[in-house]
Symmetry: C2
Subunit: 291 residues, 2 copies
């Protein structure tokens, strides 16, 4: 370990988190880890990371604490719970939550941390498991600009497109924009391909015609071929996407902003989840049209 | 003029049609033209095209007739009207309708033409005024494969991505797939940017974060900056897009296919048209969210 580098705590070792923590370990940071199920930490521990059995104990050993967990209630427990980060955090530490979570919760954590003289950032990501593995995530950051500057070297181990979007919660808000655009876009991709199928067209030929023009985009390019093959394996779990859309819709309602496209996409996804597709990929929305 | 090249009739000299006809004239085809308002033909006539005062008279002078007009009822009149193409078409001619129009009408025109021993193709395009100007349109073709082979040299003057999608009407169906994907995608782009604005984010920074990832695509890249600037100038008229969505929705209903995203987008666009935005660009959907 390199004594000049800050010690990093990393909480949440899912598919994304393991890759991201791995980059920090590889870069020479002293790495302290916690995850709800310990077995997901074994690879990192074998490579030199130190296991702790609560988030608070991780925080007690770290100059920078990074979290990427599941739902807002998980974020809340990890930060604010009895064995959570704020209970044991070191003076002068920087906290970075990379979970896609509620902007209001991010602001609340930032305020609670500030009471203790601690700087907290919300920094959700886009780019999926491949972006995490390659260290090429887009990272949308909310919080204090001094905290952003201090955290940047850590964030640069995990991402390439790193933008400070504003104060506490602004990173989460920017991520909501991303998910809102995607929600209706996937709906459009599924509807276009469902129409192609019903009209008796060859879907590959349709993609050849429309994949390079005004309809083109990442969702059509990546999900289109999967939908045609009937491949609903998760790149991103439908149930996690529903979580994100729920946060976005709640925030929009709070702002008195009517987003009917988002509301419709969420409704269709919830129908599919009720049919057992929650752990399928987001492209399984096609099943709504292709029963 | 080059006597070895087929004489081409061109009907419909709007922004797209004038560019497309210009490529055929420049390539050396004997060009015969008609347009509802004659002044739009003047440039082409000055360069050597021959004006005729009905679609039928154009057809009487052409080996290949290309049409790109407004609405399905215009297509119907141009092909099937008393002074229309089928009334005066030459034996052995090939008819190519490049209007975005009804698949059912395309099939009807093809059948009527076949009764006379004439081959008709539906060949709507994607790529807009810039694609037309640069001769780089995507062309989605429906009809007989022999007719497609015969028409290909003409189509290659106007487009680069030219795909036979199936029998009569299949080109129109493929174009509907394109418009269906775009309809919900624009809605997503507008909702994401409306959320950004309401959340107090800097929209340029949001585009910087989300423009390269899973939300990325032509609509976000092209329309995003226009929406941020409040630039609603038409790249594609909202009222023409409503026409396309109406055709797609009618076809989907005929196939008993429920497309709620498309239906919602069309409803929102119709509200805006009623408010006077019909001649604005499709990106003016943002006005629904930003009143």
């Amino acid at each position: 370990m390199n004594a000049k580098l800050p010690a990093v705590g990393f909480i949440g070792l899912g598919i994304m988190g393991r890759s991201m923590a791995g980059h920090l370990l590889a870069a020479g940071h002293d790495l302290h880890v916690y995850n709800r199920s310990r077995e997901k930490a074994e690879d990192l521990v074998a490579k030199g990371a130190t296991w702790h059995d609560t988030p608070g104990k991780v925080a007690a050993h770290a100059d920078v604490v990074v979290t990427i967990v599941g739902y807002p209630h998980d974020v809340e427990e990890v930060y604010l719970g009895a064995n959570g980060i704020l209970a044991q955090v070191r003076a002068g530490a920087i906290l970075i939550d990379m979970t896609t979570s509620s902007p209001a919760l991010a602001a609340r954590i930032s305020a609670k941390a500030a009471e203790r003289g601690i700087m907290a950032l919300d920094a959700p990501v886009s780019g999926g498991d491949i972006g995490a593995r390659e260290g090429k995530l887009a990272i949308m950051v909310g919080g204090d600009s001094a905290a952003f500057a201090a955290a940047l070297p850590i964030l640069q181990r995990m991402g390439t497109n790193i933008v400070l979007q504003g104060g506490p919660g602004a990173g989460q808000h920017a991520k909501m924009c991303n998910q809102i655009v995607i929600a209706s876009t996937i709906m459009g991709v599924c509807e276009g391909l469902a129409y192609a199928k019903h009209a008796g067209l060859d879907a590959e030929s349709v993609l050849q015609s429309i994949g390079g023009g005004a309809a083109s985009g990442t969702q059509l390019r990546v999900m289109g071929p999967r939908i045609i093959k009937g491949d609903y394996a998760p790149g991103f779990f439908m149930e996690h996407f529903i979580k994100d859309m729920s946060i976005a819709l709640a925030e929009a309602e709070r702002m008195q902003l009517n987003l009917p496209g988002l509301a419709l996409a969420k409704k269709l996804y919830e129908q599919l989840k009720a049919q057992g597709y929650g752990r399928s990929g987001t492209q399984a929305l096609f099943k709504y049209y292709d029963k």
